[in-house]
Point group: C2
């Protein structure tokens, strides 16, 4: 590592000292992390929803990009549901998450699988092909929101 | 699409109506989106920094996961710097971003390239191999923060 890089690296390290692992972070930071990633997923779902609904012209390249991004984001949020992070910052996460982690994990896996199916469908480049898989992904999101997210 | 999926899809669509495209979202939402993704990058940089610094044992699988996630997140935040989103919610983004988009874009590309080099290094599975590329990635982050993020 050259000197300039070492200095920059040191600055980054100092700024991130609180995040040495998902387990030793403060609940507030874990909550903000998972909300940030989940918000990113929502950001990408929006334009896809608009295309599926016909509110926005279907753009196969944009659809594939958004589907891919959702599939990349899909495995990320869950480690932010650290023990004790049912509180510590404003959160809609229900305490049920920590009481039934097995079910919560099932929903995560279903959502990740649905996102991969959407990517596969999006690669065909047609609106007809993505409608069903997009609906399935939306349902996977809703299933978890219904049980584990407060209104 | 089956009926249940269609209903769930409808719910998702309704919730996300405001995000039909990056261009027509409110500044507040764009700011929160980019902050969420950038925070996700910070979340992953933390454990890698701790390993590089020797504060945490080197775990090649975790390092590769974090490096991969950073490389996946790396292209995402930038579309959140929509025209007019230099204000609208608390943000450290300097107005200079919108005055020198070419330079801002150069930094984005350098950071994305550095993240891909780190993934390649992480695939070797050794701490020695990742130290330099991690420092380079940290420097790419710092370069942009120095010029375009308020203290």
């Amino acid at each position: 590592m050259n000197k300039a890089a070492a200095i920059a690296c040191g600055a980054v390290i100092a700024a991130l000292a609180a995040t040495a692992s998902a387990q030793d972070v403060k609940p507030e930071r874990a909550i903000k992390y998972r909300q940030g990633i989940l918000q990113g997923i929502g950001w990408d779902m929006g334009p896809m929803a608009a295309m599926v609904k016909g509110e926005k012209p279907f753009d196969k390249d944009e659809f594939l990009k958004r589907a891919t991004w959702v599939s990349e984001l899909a495995p990320m949020p869950w480690e932010g549901f650290t023990p004790g992070s049912d509180q510590g910052a404003p959160t809609k996460a229900k305490p049920e998450i920590w009481k039934d982690m097995a079910k919560f994990k099932q929903y995560q896996e279903a959502m990740q699988a649905a996102s991969l199916k959407l990517v596969a469908a999006a690669k065909t480049g047609t609106l007809d092909a993505v409608k069903g898989p997009f609906g399935d992904l939306g349902k996977a999101c809703s299933n978890c929101h219904d049980d584990f997210r407060a209104k």
